[in-house]
Symmetry: C2
Subunit: 438 residues, 2 copies
């Protein structure tokens, strides 16, 4: 009998590989932090001897969610300014508050709050874009969540840096410090076409090519972003990115709400990943992404929450459900975006967007053990005729009871085992009192 | 000092009367099952002596939600057939399953499951339409939730009745049996224009006038319903209801998804209440209701979940959030449908639609004490800059910790005190095994 770390025996497993099949009465064997085997539960204890065995007879196991667009530290601004259009929200509320408060400690405490919420909600990897990435990395390392952390760049000064070169110098110092961490990867994160000049994009593009780094940016979030670009440059932001050589399979384009057919084709032929953040787009009144258009072009669609300041939840189950239901409603096609497809968007498609699909995003032998277990034996989820349906349409994130990242248990019986919730709440209240003073 | 039943002292109270004000540090005094007073917490213990005092220092209190369109017993068919268009879903799946299984016991057990979910989710009144209403009433009475129960009518035979007269005879027998119950009211519930003939509508209208009863029906749910009516009658269902004299302030029109300007005007001038069920409409691919159109006409808009077989959750917080976010996104107006307005739709507007607004729907002196308390001191909801925002955009139903109906405690520290969850789950599984055999 082979000795392994963990044997997890749920009722159902959805691998998030090709096809919509749900495995019944199979066990996942974890060894060395990786998915070592997936075998019928009737055989597993003849083959393996585990230090820990989980009998989860009411549970569905999924790959952990990949939140492909976040600004985690902004969770300290959750609910700070709501029901406002993006420009007012950003210029009159969020940026002034950030100018006054953003610091290493703000990012550290904000990221901690966000990571606690994300793990409780089943997120095992997040793709972050903010200031002081070294503070986020410190929390990521301590907690043991997987993260792709952006080297943020803007053309204007902030509390973090003065000019594009300063952002990049600080970013590369951060990258050098954390490059060997097993859970941390990095990418370039120029904020958006409307905050970055052509000259800076050229610099970013050069670094991206030389260092083989991904690029994470906002793209076509609002109609005015597109209109303003046409006024200033005569072309849309996507066309401008094409001219600058920024479009490519390593580009993670957050939002893609207002995309013409010509622009969708550009995203498609260049292999760009589109990262949808439908709750944030709706709440800011930016519009509703046309998923049908993106999928018909064969574009890889992943999902993100955006920040807590615009969403105001880091809940990937909400994002899946919102995208599924709204797309069915808008297209008047109930058979569009079934649960299995939405789960793939929230898992393997996210891993592909981040370039981490050899490591995570599905329950596949050899990949790292990033997984979650949802209890479907509740008043809300029963009867359970079809587990993916119960998961998608009936359950909430409060039914997520186990989260494993890189083979380690992070949530156990619904309780965080990697963070102290009371301490986080206390620190959050201190920040709230400070920030409210503006 | 006046002796009273309960003093409830939360951080915040939203009364759901006119205006968006949130009371801070006030207490609600309950006496004789009614809201006796709302006073500053600093004064309350000088004025009143209570049998029970609740110190809820992290909580927001709202009126209980009014689920204005439900088919509660169908919770046994939750997830039975998903991702299908309404006609296929109804004709090929739901109606055959109902033909095989619907009985007094099915309705009793299904209603129990639904009511457990509704109370956990903050619903204190529901407006139900189904067969065997006497079974639903039995559960309602036992549990102590408030319900407006429809006398279901169809033109074709079902397990419950043979023809319109048989439905009505059985319905009136049910009504006579339960008419003096303090938590139960009744109304007429002709299913929909496409399942009811003009002759039957005339009969229903006569009874509605003679007995001063409300009418609860489906109206303009799908585009094909409207198109088929134009083919068959030369007019839309709303125009047909106008001709038949069915439109009026006592009509609760569920759905109203595909409504022309002329039809919206008819709803408005007749004082009809529109009951939106946006999750169900989106999931069935029926479309998305145009709330802006309805509100601009001054129509009373209330919210419902529809049944668990199409939604698949009886979660009024989801309905509010979905309607708010989707309407902001579609109208590209982030300031549209703020939390206070959505909460009014889910509470006082529902009470108005059901004709129960003198009894419930807001926290007003003299009304019955139907209220809920939500804990906002969680990782998900903190920081809390504005409690209605935290409630609407960050919290889930799992943060609802207390529910009082008619002054009695039904949920306490998140636990149902009026029903046995284990027993409900066991009965549900027995039904699932039976139903799955089809």
């Amino acid at each position: 009998m082979e000795k392994v770390e963990k044997i997890i025996s749920p009722s159902w497993i959805f691998l998030a590989e090709e096809g919509d099949e749900v495995l019944k009465d199979h066990s996942i064997v974890v060894s060395g932090g990786a998915i070592h085997d997936v075998v019928p539960t009737s055989d597993v204890f003849q083959l393996y001897e585990a230090s820990e065995a989980y009998q989860l007879s009411n549970h569905l196991i999924l790959p952990g969610f990949i939140n492909a667009h976040s600004h985690s530290a902004m969770s300290l601004l959750k609910g700070y300014a709501d029901d406002l259009p993006l420009n007012t929200w950003l210029n009159d509320h969020i940026w002034p508050a950030e100018n006054q408060h953003v610091s290493f400690d703000f990012v550290k405490d904000g990221s901690t709050l966000a990571i606690a919420e994300m793990i409780k909600g089943g997120t095992t990897t997040f793709n972050d874009m903010y200031f002081f990435p070294e503070a986020t990395a410190e929390v990521v390392s301590k907690v043991g969540i997987r993260a792709n952390i952006g080297l943020g760049v803007l053309d204007f000064p902030t509390n973090y840096a003065n000019d594009p070169e300063d952002y990049l110098t600080k970013g590369f110092a951060f990258r050098d410090q954390w490059r060997d961490h097993k859970l941390i990867t990095t990418c370039l994160a120029p904020h958006a076409p409307y905050t970055i000049s052509n000259k800076t994009f050229e610099l970013i593009n050069t670094y991206a090519e030389q260092l083989d780094l991904g690029i994470h940016m906002h793209l076509h979030e609002t109609r005015s972003e597109v209109e303003d670009s046409i006024k200033a440059f005569g072309i849309t932001p996507i066309q401008r990115m094409q001219d600058l050589g920024v479009l490519g399979p390593k580009l993670m384009a957050a939002h893609c709400v207002h995309v013409s057919e010509a622009d969708a084709k550009l995203l498609s032929v260049n292999g760009v990943s589109a990262i949808c953040n439908i709750s944030s787009n709706m709440k800011l009144g930016s519009g509703i992404p046309d998923i049908n258009q993106l999928l018909q072009r064969g574009i890889n669609v992943a999902l993100g929450t955006d920040s807590s300041a615009s969403n105001n939840a880091l809940d990937m189950m909400r994002e899946m459900r919102a995208l599924g239901l709204v797309s069915k409603g808008l297209n008047m096609r109930s058979e569009f975006l079934k649960p299995a497809e939405l789960i793939r968007m929230a898992t393997i498609n996210g891993a592909k967007a981040l370039g981490l699909d050899e490591l995570t995003g599905s329950i596949s032998k050899g990949k790292r053990a990033d997984m979650i277990a949802i209890n479907l034996d509740t008043i809300e989820s029963q009867p359970c005729y079809e587990p993916l349906s119960s998961f998608m349409y009936s359950a909430d994130r409060s039914s997520i009871e186990y989260v494993w990242i890189d083979g380690n248990t992070k949530l156990k019986q619904g309780q965080l085992v990697c963070l102290d919730e009371e301490d986080i709440l206390q620190r959050t209240k201190i920040w709230q009192t400070k920030i409210k003073r503006i």
